[in-house]
């Protein structure tokens, strides 16, 4: 080795001493817009002699002879070569690189060229993420990678998307491992990141790609890499955007008091008559003359009666909200030191109208890397995130939307003298005066890293140490609010003003040391290896204190309260130790073999079963590198087939699942004047818990056509999850405790994903036009293959169950005549009423599927389910994303569509997730009547969507409309223009005079257009359907319009 180096040096000296030196100068420009390229590298081919262009894109280099060849290179540009000949000035216009073959992909503990990959790996670069007016990274990644399935949650400013790779993993849950800059993190930390700091997102989908992360990577890995300084110069970049946000879809209410009061009386028949004739007449007159007072006193003069036309949705949500983001990034790269400092600020004013819900986020990221020696580099990576979410306490979650969505439009918020009404206090009053909730996260992480090149470019040792400290402080006050039931009749909503403070700290330590080896022997045998050890530990401390009896609501603090104190402390710890390794070999860039594995030990299992080894292997064949393929190469420029197989463990269990423990808690029974504490008996635990085993088989192909301009990647997989923790053999209930879970259930997930992209450039009006189009499409389905359910009851998992399946009745239509009713099978077994409301014309008619003369659930087992059958499935299928982009002469435009091809949903009527915006007055007579509801059956409108107005039939799943059924099964598929960006970059020639590197202004819009499969009667955002409260019971998602700029020096 040393000899080699010595001879190289000697050779160089020899050359310099003897050659006749020539000087070549010139300028390097970008062909597309003619702007200069500073920092481009010019190398004399075959030597180490190199220089960089200066700020103006000019260069000067000494060359040994006229036969020398200059190589021009710059990141993202095609390499250009020029023979010097007799030229002393060489100007080069570089073109944008569209060759995908050199793409480098981040993999676990290293990087690999994409062409050499044998596992299922996909990546997204920063341009899909930055400058979008999204609330978090998850929203930007939705639809970007095949089978990276993201659930956005809702439109709240602090919403936390959840992540899934390749579908349902385990009945116990299983989510991808998230790794940020080499450190294992979690979804919360990903959502906390400043999207503009991200350089690259890589998704490891199959076992062979993720095996190096071992037992936590069974359901894939998301690797996040942050930006680093580009070589050669210092840049300062500032960017911002200002957005205007508006709800995507809002329910449409019927604001006609006369009709609503009449309809409400009908729908409330079973319980009472709500409005008498006087009130009905008044309501009708208000329909004609809306200027009449919207609230009146009842005849006794003691009670307010609202007869208004209130759209509660509009009372609560603004038409437009605002948000802004600012980012500053300073980066530099010299021989010895590379650094980047980045700061971000986001301010989102939320959509609430009457009381603010604000979110502020501050991001800081500092990265510095120092080359101490040419073989030794140390670096530090420190990030700090602070975010503060401040909302009304009453808006505790989607379930709060029960109040506004069930509040009738006749009700009004205020009495004539300005007090809250009963309706007003439940909706806006509790938001305005019911206390605030403030959550402050303050998270800090620092990572020290050192890299030593034992043999340059062949063998290196990396070592990381990182410390993460997260603190979360929540303070909230729950304050009762007064309202007026009638003049002088003051009442209170809520009881007992309480202040609560929760402090939570997480400390995590992460250490790893690993060696990377790469060497090519005899020009054809490329060998790579990684071997390392890793250790992690985590501790969470949580303290929760509340105190009732606030002295004054103005000081909602425990210190100024006099009532009972409730408190709780929890501490949770875990630790892992691991050894991991990977070996890959490729022969002549044709045959690729890779094997990897990890040996994990966890604190979560007893010492005799805590260690597990998870191996995997993969192979690929680059057919296009074979001689026989050459004739095809003009069409198919690249062809690789891949196959992989591996088994990983899933340790998605609680921290101490094998230890029976006794807990202390406060009793809800008063003994001798106080609520005492009590210690409870331990639960049953199994002594022989082990890991769930997840085996993935993957087959994939990568094909590039037409000089790599068209690329196709496709993968098909089968993932078997075995030994899921579930109940074992069913023990008699006299045991008196939940049976310990054992590794007893299996499921299989099958799916595929593909990505097609096209990239090219043409010349339009003398300028280069770059354009690209890409699409991803994916699918997955999961099925239970083993589960302990001997009776086959459909109330539990059962073998053969497709996850997400919806059981329901088949709707034939409406009953058309009395004869029709008597002739039809009896429906009383599925629709029993406590009141008096027999089946009548205009009611729903269900198909007697098994022809036994009654509509029933049967025994509700897999073999006897009466007239029920699987009518749909909630699992989203055919998730897709389409990306279109072009740039020309400084203008750029991009569009990103995302959607779901197939998904069913029933706006369930089980009481907890009933969507009142759909079921409306059928679910509760007091619900605000929507325009959709008016399309109900009447003797003159027999072709309606909803049945006749029959009280309470959607109140539970044992009533006609509450039963899942084909007629009201919703098609929740959608396609959505997630993002449209139009930008203009001011020409460099103009900017250079002001010493500005780059100035781009852009318009960016999110969720601008949606095509939804939902019926017109159901006005909710299709993306929210089936999540949280249902659809209507969610904080609205937003479309946004934003303007921004990017400025670099």
């Amino acid at each position: 080795m040393r000899k080699l180096l010595l001879s190289l040096v000697l050779l160089a000296i020899f050359h310099m001493a003897n050659a006749q030196e020539l000087v070549v100068t010139g300028a390097v420009t970008q062909k597309s817009d003619g702007s200069s390229i500073p920092g481009a590298t010019i190398t004399v081919k075959g030597t180490k002699n190199a220089t960089l262009t200066n700020k103006l894109g000019d260069f000067s280099i000494k060359v040994p002879s006229q036969k020398s060849v200059l190589v021009f290179s710059f990141v993202g540009m095609n390499k250009e070569e020029r023979e010097v000949g007799n030229l002393s000035v060489i100007n080069v216009a570089m073109t944008t690189e569209i060759n995908a073959l050199n793409e480098v992909v981040v993999v676990g503990y290293g990087v690999q060229k994409k062409v050499n990959l044998s596992g299922a790996v996909a990546s997204v670069s920063s341009d899909k993420i930055e400058d979008r007016p999204v609330l978090n990274v998850g929203q930007a990644l939705e639809g970007a990678v095949g089978n990276l399935n993201i659930t956005v949650g809702n439109g709240q400013a602090n919403a936390s998307p959840s992540y899934n790779i390749r579908g349902y993993g385990s009945i116990n849950g299983g989510s991808p491992l998230i790794v940020i800059d080499g450190i294992v993190a979690d979804a919360g930390r990903l959502n906390d990141m400043n999207p503009n700091d991200i350089a690259n997102v890589t998704v490891l989908k199959d076992a062979s790609a993720s095996a190096i992360y071992g037992s936590r990577a069974a359901y894939g890995v998301i690797l996040i890499t942050t930006k680093i300084a580009k070589p050669g110069k210092q840049t300062i970049t500032y960017s911002n955007n200002f957005s205007m946000r508006a709800p995507t879809v809002t329910p449409q209410y019927l604001l006609n008091p006369g009709q609503v009061a009449k309809d409400l009386n009908i729908m409330a028949t079973l319980c009472c008559m709500v409005y008498d004739k006087t009130a009905l007449d008044y309501a009708a007159s208000r329909s004609l003359n809306p200027s009449l007072p919207n609230i009146v006193l009842d005849p006794t003069g003691t009670k307010w009666i609202g007869l208004g036309n209130t759209d509660w949705y509009k009372q609560i949500f603004k038409d437009y909200g605002g948000s802004q983001q600012h980012n500053l990034n300073i980066a530099g790269n010299s021989d010895k030191i590379t650094y980047m400092l980045s700061g971000g600020y986001e301010d989102n004013n939320g959509m609430l109208k009457v009381a603010a819900d604000t979110y502020k986020k501050y991001n800081f990221l500092g990265k510095v890397s120092i080359k101490l020696k040419d073989w030794w580099e140390i670096s530090n990576n420190t990030s700090y995130v602070k975010n503060e979410y401040n909302r009304p306490y009453a808006l505790y979650g989607d379930s709060w939307f029960f109040f506004p969505t069930t509040m009738g439009t006749l009700e009004v918020p205020y009495t004539p003298d300005g007090y809250y009404t009963s309706a007003g206090v439940q909706t806006i009053g509790s938001l305005i005066d019911g206390g605030r909730y403030i959550s402050v996260n303050s998270n800090y992480q620092t990572k020290f890293e050192t890299k030593i090149d034992l043999i340059k470019d062949v063998l290196s040792i990396n070592s990381n140490f990182s410390y993460y400290r997260a603190s979360n402080i929540q303070r909230y006050a729950n304050i009762p609010v007064t309202y007026m039931k009638g003049p002088g009749n003051q009442q209170t909503w809520g009881s007992n003003a309480t202040a609560t403070a929760i402090t939570q700290f997480t400390d995590q330590y992460y250490t790893d040391v690993y060696a990377n080896f790469h060497k090519t022997f005899a020009g054809k045998h490329a060998v790579g290896a990684t071997l390392g050890v890793n250790q992690e530990s985590s501790r969470l401390d949580n303290l929760n204190v509340g105190r009732a009896g606030l002295i004054t609501p103005s000081y909602p603090t425990i210190q100024l309260a006099t009532g009972a104190i409730t408190d709780a402390e929890s501490i949770s710890t875990w630790a892992m130790k691991s050894t991991f390794g990977r070996v890959n070999y490729s022969y002549d860039n044709k045959y690729i073999l890779e094997g990897s594995g990890r040996y994990d030990g966890t604190s979560r299992f007893p010492s005799n079963s805590r260690w597990a080894f998870n191996p995997s292997g993969s192979a690929a064949w680059v057919a296009s590198n074979e001689k026989f393929f050459q004739p095809l190469s003009s069409v198919i420029s690249f062809l690789k087939v891949r196959a992989s197989y591996g088994t990983l463990g899933n340790q998605n269990v609680s921290n101490y699942p094998y230890l029976p423990t006794m807990n202390n808690a406060q009793s809800s029974v008063i003994l001798d004047g106080s609520r005492p504490y009590y210690v409870s008996s331990p639960g049953l635990v199994a002594g022989n818990l082990t890991w769930e085993k997840v085996t993935t088989k993957n087959f994939g192909v990568d094909i590039n056509f037409l000089k790599n301009r068209l690329t196709l990647t496709a993968d098909i997989y089968n993932r078997d999850t075995k030994g899921m923790l579930s109940k074992g053999g069913v023990l008699p209930n006299v045991l008196g405790a939940s049976q310990p879970l054992v590794n007893a259930a299996n499921l299989t997930t099958k799916g595929w994903e593909m990505m097609v992209s096209w990239k090219d450039q043409v010349t339009v009006a003398g300028k280069q036009l770059n354009y690209n189009a890409s699409a991803v499409l994916s699918d997955n389905q999961a099925k239970i293959t083993k589960y302990n359910n001997p009776t086959g009851t459909l109330s539990d998992f059962h073998v053969g169950q497709q996850l997400g399946e919806i059981w329901g009745l088949t709707t034939e239509g409406f009953f058309t005549s009395a004869e029709d009713i008597t002739k039809h099978a009896s429906q009383s077994a599925v629709t029993n009423y406590t009141g008096v409301n027999p089946i009548s014309v205009g009611d729903l008619k269900f198909l007697d599927k098994n022809n036994d003369g009654v509509i029933s659930k049967g025994k509700w087992t897999t073999t006897d389910h009466g007239d029920y059958s699987v009518i749909g499935n909630t699992n989203p299928r055919y998730n897709f994303g389409v990306n279109l982009g072009a740039d020309w002469n400084g203008f750029d435009v991009s569009m990103f569509f995302q959607g779901v091809g197939k998904k069913d949903f029933y706006p369930a009527a089980d009481g907890s997730t009933t969507d009142y915006t759909f079921f409306n007055m059928y679910a509760s007579p007091w619900t605000g009547e929507t325009v959709g509801f008016t399309n109900h059956w009447t003797p003159t409108n027999t072709n309606a969507y909803f049945p006749r107005m029959k009280p309470q039939i959607a109140e539970s799943s044992s009533y006609e409309l509450g039963i899942p059924q084909t007629r009201y099964l919703q098609n929740a598929s959608y396609a959505r223009l997630k993002n449209l960006t139009i930008g203009y970059s001011v020409p460099k020639s103009v900017l250079q005079k002001c010493r500005i590197e780059k100035l781009r202004i852009f318009f960016s819009g999110e969720n601008l257009f949606t095509k939804s499969g939902l019926v017109a009667e159901y006005r909710v955002d299709p993306e929210l359907v089936g999540i949280g409260g249902g659809g209507g019971l969610s904080y609205t998602l937003q479309k946004s319009y934003s303007l921004g700029l990017t400025l670099s020096f």
Binding site: A564, T573, N663, D672
Partner: protein, 594 residues
């Protein structure tokens, strides 16, 4: 030189790695919960564990389901009497066994504790009391249940798969538990914790129930009813004679005119002389009751209960049925000259609820509005629409009096002195004329005799009148359904419940001020004539109720009209859930449910 420093730095890294890896442990244990070896060491630990079991002690404010109630809400009992309950849909008994496990876990481990023997035995006694209480709750439902005196493990298949233990054996074990409790629990002053008095009260209640069950249920084939009636007699007698408790009549030095009702609407009963054990509620501790359904919302009181209360005619108590035209009296007419407990249990016309200004208008379809347990403070009525914090009795001396009198009568031992010691004390509180044993025995009330046809013997008249006294005194306290069961008169619960009497359609005064405040029409169209908007209107075609003589008569819920049938003896028992038998084929289905 260069390589030496490189080696040095690699060496340093390796040292650091070895150091760090050597330090971190994978053996991590919970820090905020205990392992079981570190607990059960002192009397205090026993007390700490028992605190978690008090939740099983119930206090009720309604007799739903029974012949005392009209209700628009459905219950298990109504479903059963409609014939809708089967062994396939009855649901598992699993929650009962969770409690038994928690108690047996305590009893298995309590012996490890060391300390003052009396203290230890006191707590162990409380554990036995809880087990007896919980097991008898199961016996009431299933009759035969498997008996376990120790906590079960997953591998204990002999016990897990055993069949039911005979009722006689289970009840003997329960009595043994209670005897242990009585012998070992210290008689403290707490009204919320289990004391020796609580154990005696529990013993008396269970023994009375078991004694009458065996006497009036020949299908059980158990002929030793008297053994239990004697236990009930002796336990209640011991409590009555202990002098520790007395009937509550005075508020300080003054006689409380509503002393009876105040047992059910007081914020704090912990100093009440009549209480043996109470369920305490406190708003500031966030321990509250939900009472709104009981009061003019989904259930109310029945005509049958109203008619049970005696009338008073010239200082003599007579059955209400002897009042002329008693069955044609409107709502405003039934309260005059009655046992004063009637108006302390039922809301009278014109009742103005605390915090409101207008008289309460009853919802006709749910009968009479219950007043017993209705709070006196308006904040309770307003809090979240029906959150209460008044304490409730669990065991009170009044019940002990009734147990004593009933046991003595059933044993054929009742004397006038017994009545003066018990029922006449309760009557004195409300200034009712005394009960006279001779009169009871000589003039049997025909209405009661038809209600309880299986009561025979020389004490017949006394037993019937004691049952009336019990129904009146303990109304709405949750005893009625079980009383009907143990007396073998389940059929009474199956009658169509009726509410107040409506003399004719048209305007009615329900507040007693002579001004109509309600209108009942035959059809919705009839309602148009009502111009006064403040009048509550019903139309028979749309209302939830009908009238017993079509356009007049007693209010009856359409949904309850002739819906119920009590099948004897089947409906005295609950079937074992099919799924429970499926997992343990050694379990036997109750013979009447096969």
């Amino acid at each position: 030189m260069k390589n030496i420093s490189k080696l040095k730095s690699i060496f340093l890294i390796l040292v650091a790695v070895v150091t760090i890896f050597g330090c971190t442990k994978l053996d991590l244990y919970p820090e905020t919960s205990m392992n079981q070896g570190s607990f059960f060491s002192s009397p205090n630990d026993l007390s700490l564990y028992l605190n978690g079991l008090y939740g099983i002690m119930p206090a009720s404010m309604t007799d739903l389901t029974s012949d005392n109630i009209l209700s628009t809400a459905d219950t298990y009992e109504y479903k059963m009497m409609r014939g809708e309950v089967t062994s396939a849909n009855v649901g598992s008994w699993s929650s009962n066994w969770t409690t038994i496990r928690n108690i047996n876990f305590f009893l298995d481990n309590a012996g490890k504790a060391t300390g003052n023997t009396a203290d230890l035995n006191n707590y162990i006694g409380v554990g036995h009391f809880f087990r007896a209480f919980q097991y008898y709750e199961m016996v009431k439902q299933y009759s035969d249940v498997p008996w376990f005196s120790h906590v079960l493990t997953t591998s204990d298949s002999l016990s897990l798969y055993k069949t039911q233990t005979k009722r006689s054996v289970v009840v003997d074990s329960i009595i043994a538990d209670l005897n242990f409790a009585v012998a070992n629990i210290i008689d403290g002053t707490s009204k919320t914790r289990v004391t020796k008095s609580t154990a005696l009260a529990g013993l008396a209640r269970i023994a009375l129930q078991e004694g009458t069950m065996r006497k009036y249920h020949p299908e059980l084939g158990l002929t030793d009813a008297n053994r239990f009636l004697q236990i009930a007699r002796d336990a209640s007698s011991q409590l009555i004679k202990s002098g520790k408790f007395s009937i509550y009549v005075k508020n300080g030095s003054a006689v409380h005119t509503k002393a009876y009702e105040s047992l059910f609407n007081s914020a704090d009963l912990s100093a009440n002389s009549e209480m043996i054990m109470i369920k305490a509620y406190d708003l500031s501790l966030s321990v509250t009751t939900i009472f709104k359904n009981i009061f003019n919302n989904t259930s109310g009181l029945s005509r049958d209960l109203m008619e049970e209360y005696l009338a008073v005619n010239a200082g003599t108590a007579i059955p209400f049925q002897q009042v002329a035209g008693y069955d044609q009296l409107p709502f405003t007419g039934v309260f005059a000259n009655r046992d004063p407990r009637l108006v302390q249990t039922f809301m009278q016309p014109g009742y103005v609820a605390p915090g409101t200004t207008a008289a309460t208008i009853p919802k006709l379809e749910i009968g009479y509005i219950q007043e017993k347990y209705y709070p006196l403070t308006s904040d309770q009525i307003q809090l979240g629409g029906g959150t209460g914090y008044d304490d409730m009795p669990i065991y009170r001396l009044g019940e002990m009096y009734l147990i004593y009198a009933e046991a003595k009568a059933e044993l054929g031992e009742l004397t006038q002195a017994d009545l003066d010691l018990t029922i006449n004390v309760l009557r004195d509180r409300v200034q009712m004329p005394h009960a006279v044993l001779a009169t009871w025995l000589s003039t049997v009330d025909p209405r009661l005799a038809s209600h309880y046809p299986n009561v025979q013997g020389t004490m017949k008249g006394a037993i019937l009148e004691i049952r009336r006294e019990r129904r009146v005194e303990l109304a709405c306290e949750g005893f009625r359904w079980q009383d009907l069961m143990r007396w073998g008169v389940g059929k009474l619960a199956a009658a169509t419940p009726q509410g107040m009497f409506v003399p004719a359609l048209g305007y009615i005064d329900v507040t007693g001020d002579g001004v109509a405040d309600m209108f009942i029409g035959a059809t919705v169209a009839d309602l148009a004539q009502v111009t006064n908007g403040s009048i509550t209107k019903y139309s028979l075609d749309k209302a939830l109720f009908s009238l017993s003589n079509t356009t007049s008569g007693y209010v009856q819920l359409k949904s309850q009209l002739n819906k119920y049938n009590f099948i004897e003896p089947k409906n005295y028992y609950k079937p074992v859930y099919d799924q429970d038998i499926l997992t343990n084929p050694n379990l036997v289905q109750n013979s009447f449910w096969k």
